[in-house]
C-alpha cells in the first residue's frame, strides 16, 4: 500500500487499476446483468490483482452479491467479459467448472451440508473434483480445521456448531479446493456480534497469507485494516474506488458521502 493519499486517489480513479503484486487475477469488462427488465449490474469494469484484497460496500440491493456471484457463474452475466486467472468465463460447463475450482465462495448463510459431518463437508470437493484419495483429503481437511482453529469439531455435524464455527468450516471447505481467489458475500452478517471477530480473524490471516480476496461486507473496521482497495457500489454501478484512507477520510462522490454518513 502506498502512503501518499493524493496519489492513491488518482491511482484508483477507476476500478481497473490494480494493487497487489501487479499481476492481473480477475477482470470484469463492461459487465451487464438483468433480472427480467431490471438491470442489476450496469457496465461494471473492475480488475483485481494477484494477492489483492478488495472490499465491496454499498447499500442493500446495489448489486454487490450479483457482481461476485457472476464471477463464479452462480449468476450468468448478460453482456461483457469476465476473466479469472486468464480463463474467460463462457457457457461451456467445463470452463465454468475450471473457474469454480479456482474460486472459493463463502456465503452469508454458510450453506454447509447439514447431512454431512464437518470432515465430510470439507473433503467432498477435494475428493469429487480434485480426485484426492480419502486419506489425503482428510489430512488436508484436518490441516485446514487447525488453520481456522476448530480441529476438535471434525466429526460433528454443522447443526452442532455455533454460527461462527459454521462459517469457519465454510471457509475451510472453500480453501480445501486450493483456490486462487476467495469471494466472500457478507460472511458475518448472519452472525451474533460475539462471533463476528473469530470469523474476521480467520479472514485477516487469509489476507496476510497472500490470498486474492473480494469481500462484500459492512464491517468497516475490516475494510480499513485489511483492504487494499474499497469499492463502493450503488444502483448496480461502481460509484467510487479508493484506498481505505481515501475512502473513509475524503470520499469524492456525493452518494459515497451519504452512504458513509449513514453507516458510520
Amino acid at each position: 500500500m502506498t502512503s501518499n493519499e493524493n496519489n492513491n486517489a488518482q491511482a484508483f480513479a477507476d476500478a481497473t487499476q490494480i494493487a497487489g503484486t501487479g499481476e492481473l487475477m480477475i477482470e470484469l469488462e463492461g459487465v451487464d446483468k438483468f433480472f427480467g427488465d431490471f438491470q442489476a449490474l450496469k457496465d461494471i469494469d473492475m480488475r483485481v490483482g494477484k494477492q489483492e484484497v478488495i472490499v465491496v460496500i454499498g447499500p442493500s440491493g446495489s448489486g454487490k452479491s450479483t457482481m461476485i456471484r457472476c464471477i463464479n457463474r452462480l449468476e450468468k452475466h448478460d453482456r461483457g467479459r469476465i476473466t479469472v486467472d486468464g480463463i474467460e468465463l463462457s457457457d461451456d460447463i467445463r470452463n465454468i467448472q475450471e473457474i469454480r475450482k479456482e474460486t472459493g465462495m463463502v456465503f452469508q448463510q454458510f450453506n454447509l451440508f447439514p447431512h454431512l459431518t464437518v470432515m465430510d463437508n470439507i473433503t467432498l470437493g477435494p475428493r469429487q473434483v480434485r480426485n484426492l484419495p480419502k486419506k489425503e483429503a482428510e489430512d488436508l481437511a484436518m490441516d485446514l480445521l487447525k488453520r481456522v482453529q476448530i480441529p476438535e469439531q471434525a466429526r460433528k455435524f454443522p447443526g452442532q456448531l455455533s454460527g461462527g464455527q459454521q462459517q469457519r468450516v465454510a471457509i475451510a471447505r472453500s480453501l480445501a479446493m486450493n483456490p486462487k481467489v476467495m469471494l466472500f458475500d457478507e460472511p458475518t452478517s448472519a452472525l451474533d456480534p460475539e462471533m463476528i471477530k473469530e470469523v474476521l480473524d480467520v479472514m485477516k490471516e487469509l489476507a496476510q497469507s497472500g490470498m486474492t480476496m473480494i469481500v462484500v461486507t459492512h464491517e468497516m473496521g475490516f475494510a480499513r485494516e485489511v483492504a487494499d482497495r474499497v469499492v463502493f457500489m450503488a444502483d448496480g454501478e461502481i460509484v467510487e474506488v479508493g484506498t481505505p484512507e481515501h475512502f473513509f477520510m475524503s470520499p469524492t462522490e456525493d452518494r459515497t458521502k451519504l452512504f458513509l454518513s449513514q453507516i458510520l
Binding site: R100, K101, F113, P114, Q128, I150, K156, G159
Partner: protein, 479 residues
Amino acid sequence: MATETPFTHIDPDTGIAIPEVDVPSQKLPPGEWLRKNLFNNWYNSLITVLLTIGVAYVSWRVLRFVFVTAKWEPVRENLTLINIGTYPRDEQWRVVAQVLIWSGAAGLGIGAAVAGAKFRALQAGMEYVVDPALAKVKRYSGLLLLGLVFLGFTKTFGPLILTVVSLAVAYALYWVASRVAGHNVGLLWAGVAALMVFGFQIVSGFFGMGWLWMGVPIAAAVYSVIGRNETIEPRRLRLIQIGAALGVLVVLFVVYLVVDSVGVEWDEWEGFHLNLLAAAIAIALSFPLGLLLALGRRSSFPALRIMSTTYIEIIRGVPLISLLLMAQFFIGFFLDTRTPLSLFTRATAAMTLFTAAYVAEIVRGGLQAVPKGQTEAGNSVGMAPWSVTRLIVLPQALRAVIPAMVGQFISLFKDTSLLLIIGKIEILGAREIIHGQEAYRGFGIAETLVFAAFAFWAVSFTMSRESQRLERKLGVGER
C-alpha cells in the same frame, strides 16, 4: 476457544437438530384431569357420557363377536391356504426356508442400524441412546398381535417351532451385527440385501435371472469393500471397483449355469405370501423408478422433462385397477398374445409403474424443499451437476419425504388385494377357495374377512409406526 452452543438434541444419524419432543407435561391427578378435559361444562359432559355409552356398546359387540359368537373354524382349518394359497405343497419347504432367511435379514438389518447409529454417535461425541423395550413392543404391536393370533389358531407345533427358530436366528444375527465396528456397517447392509434376494431365490427356485439378482448385492458389497481403500486416487479406484463388481457377476453367472435350476413359477405364489411378495417387489422397484422420474421432471433436457411429466400425469390420472386389468388382458395388444411374462410379473409391473408416478411427485416435493444455497455451495467448489444432485440434494430431499413415501407404500401394500380382481389367489382369493369348500359354504364369511383385514392392518400399522419413528428421528417439519 470453541464454545459449544446449547442445542436441544441432535440426531446422531443425520446431524439434524431436533427440539426436545417430549416436554414433560403437567400431570394432573385423574379426577382433576377428567373434570378439566371431559366434564368442564354441561354439553361436554353430555358428549362424554354419550360417547362413553357408544364406545362401550361397540366394544362389547366386537369383543362378543371375536370371543363368543364368531366361528373361527374356516380360518383355523385353512391357515396354510390363507398363507400360501395353492402353492405346491411339495415345495412348501421353500417358504419355510424363506421365512428363516428373511428373519435373519431382519435381524442383521436392525443390528446394522444399531451399529451404525452407535458409531456415528461416538464420532460426533454424543451418547447413544437405546430405545426402551416398551417402545419397541408398541412399535411392533401389530405384527406381534398377528403372530400371536396365528399361533393361537395353529394345531401342530410346526409354526411354533418355526417362529422360535426364526426369532433365534434373527436375534443371533442382530447380536453379531450390532457389535460390528461402525465403519464396516456398509458390508452388513450388503449382507441384508443378499439375504433378502436369497429369500426370493429360494421361494422361486434358482433359474432365470437368479445370478443377476444375487449378484447385484454381492457385487455392491465387493464394490464398497474396495472403495474403502484410502490411498488410491478416486478415479482409478472406481475403475478397479467396477471391474471387480463385473467379475462377481460373471462368476455367479457361471455358478448359476451349474447349480440346480428347478423352481416354482412366480404365478404359483399365492395367499398372504403373494400380497407380501408383490408389495415388496413393487416397493423395491418403484422407488428407483420414481426417483428417476422426479429427476427427469426437473431435468434441463426438454425431451426428458416432457416425457417424465407426461408419464407422471397420465399414470396419476388412471385408477390402479384399470392398469391391472390392462396388465391382464391388454398387454397382448402391445406385445405378443402368447406373452412369456407371467401374470404375476405383469401385475407387479403395473403396480410398480403406478406407484412410481406417485413416488416421483413425492420426491419432487422433497427436491424443491432443499434450499438453493445447497446447490450453490456444491457448484461453487466446482462439483459436476450430477454429483451435486446425488451427494448433496438427493440425500436431504429423500430424508424429508420418508413419511410421505412410506404412506404411499402402505397404500400399495393394501392395493395388492386388487390382484383378486385379475384372478390371482391372494389372501382374499384364498378366502373364496375356503368358502368354496363343502364345509364352509356360506359359513363364517364375516370371520374370514375380518381375519384378512386384520392381517393387512397388522402389517400396515407396523409400517406406519416405523415411519412415525423415522419422522421423529429425522426431525421432519422441525428444521
